[in-house]
Symmetry: C2
């Protein structure tokens, strides 16, 4: 029992993952994966914007609901930390100072999440961001060895999970991802780094009115309400980088 036993072969699992046809299949696979690894929980969590979550996993319902109700998304150090990282990270290496974070951790442990955790950040087009997380209750050394041994497999599994999630997600990219023109991108970039319209126009050596046309055009293409919204969308979709 447990992850001390051995490292399971994942060959067949990824094939089945690739042929999954719905969230239900992913749920079954994630449960099987948890049993194979002998860890307490495995969760795939698409971290979407304004509170809207999406994913599958083995966390108890009460915890998932509590997470949503309490707005833990905003204070969860796993989210905060992984958002700035590329490589998988052990929960112990995250920043748990801060009162809210410690309270959150206590609450999580009380809900049986476990004292150990390992989260893999995954990013897709248009700023999509998701986490693939394993959690467990046990001593540090065992957990360190477990994660070290299975790191590569887990990265791959996380990748294929996210691929499927992207396939299954209908409402996440309904708007045709209309690309911005080069000039529009330049304008948005300048605004994103703090330039006023007048400054941006001067920088691009065009009239302020012309720049305004770009901003309006970009705003329209991005379906944004105002300039700030447009810049936010362009950023989170990875169209521009600051």
């Amino acid at each position: 029992m447990g992850y001390l036993a051995n490292t399971p072969r994942l060959d067949g699992l990824i094939e089945r993952l690739e042929s999954a046809e719905g969230l239900e299949d992913l749920q079954l696979l994630i449960e099987e994966l948890r049993d194979r690894y002998g860890v307490d929980h495995i969760v795939y969590h698409w971290v979407a914007a304004s509170g809207q979550q999406y994913g599958c996993g083995t966390y108890p319902m009460e915890w998932v609901n509590r997470y949503l109700e309490m707005g833990y998304l905003r204070i969860d150090p796993v989210i905060q930390g992984c958002y700035q990282r590329f490589h998988p990270v052990d929960w112990k290496r995250l920043d748990w100072s801060g009162k809210a974070a410690r309270a959150f951790l206590q609450d999580a442990i009380a809900h049986g999440i476990g004292n150990q955790g390992f989260s893999i950040p995954i990013r897709g087009p248009n700023g999509q961001f998701a986490l693939f997380t394993l959690s467990h209750s046990g001593p540090d050394e065992d957990w360190a060895r477990f994660t070290d041994e299975n790191r590569r497999d887990l990265i791959l599994v996380a990748h294929f999970f996210n691929q499927k999630a992207l396939e299954f997600e209908p409402g996440r990219t309904p708007d045709p991802v209309q690309p911005l023109s080069p000039r529009e991108l330049e304008a948005m970039t300048l605004l994103a780094i703090g330039y006023s319209r007048a400054q941006a126009a001067e920088t691009l050596s065009i009239s302020e009115h012309t720049l305004r046309v770009y901003v309006e055009s970009a705003r329209f293409k991005l379906g944004a309400m105002n300039t700030t919204h447009a810049v936010a969308r362009a950023l989170s979709r990875g169209l521009i980088v600051v």
Copy 2:
């Protein structure tokens, strides 16, 4: 010789990849990888928005220079296509209609890039985007079998290459991230999803003036010039998620 022979073991290579200490090491590893796989070229290419390139690989110098001079970054269907994709893609599945694209392909083949290609998109924090590409000259069937057999290994290799590239990134200055208060975060989030100050204030059930205080405070903490700038910074620092 060539990729028909067999599938090399990558066990040792990833370890060496993880212990690489500079771009030179990555260059050596990528050449070794090319020889092991028996393909014509392998390239890791960090695609920066501002036109700045960065990476390593086995493309001939003339081609790299020509790519930059001609501004191929803007018309390369591999870039365009992978930017909207999550999963690795064979070049044949990309959109090569368009006059510029076909001319680009002719030019690439003339420079010995090969008629086959397989590119893996990789994404990091703050909208970082890179490609890990293998290219070769040969028949379709062989290439299809090769890429199919080695897909998973290549995804992993691409991942670790990008990890190293992120470590080596020159302008990596972790500016002190001054945390925003909960109310400030709420205000910034609402603005980021398109609310006006009045709407945001109403949503939070506070006066518009109070909301303004939050925004100004957040702007000050983030060192931002205006609201749009502040939202952009909060987003790219992962303080808020939209």
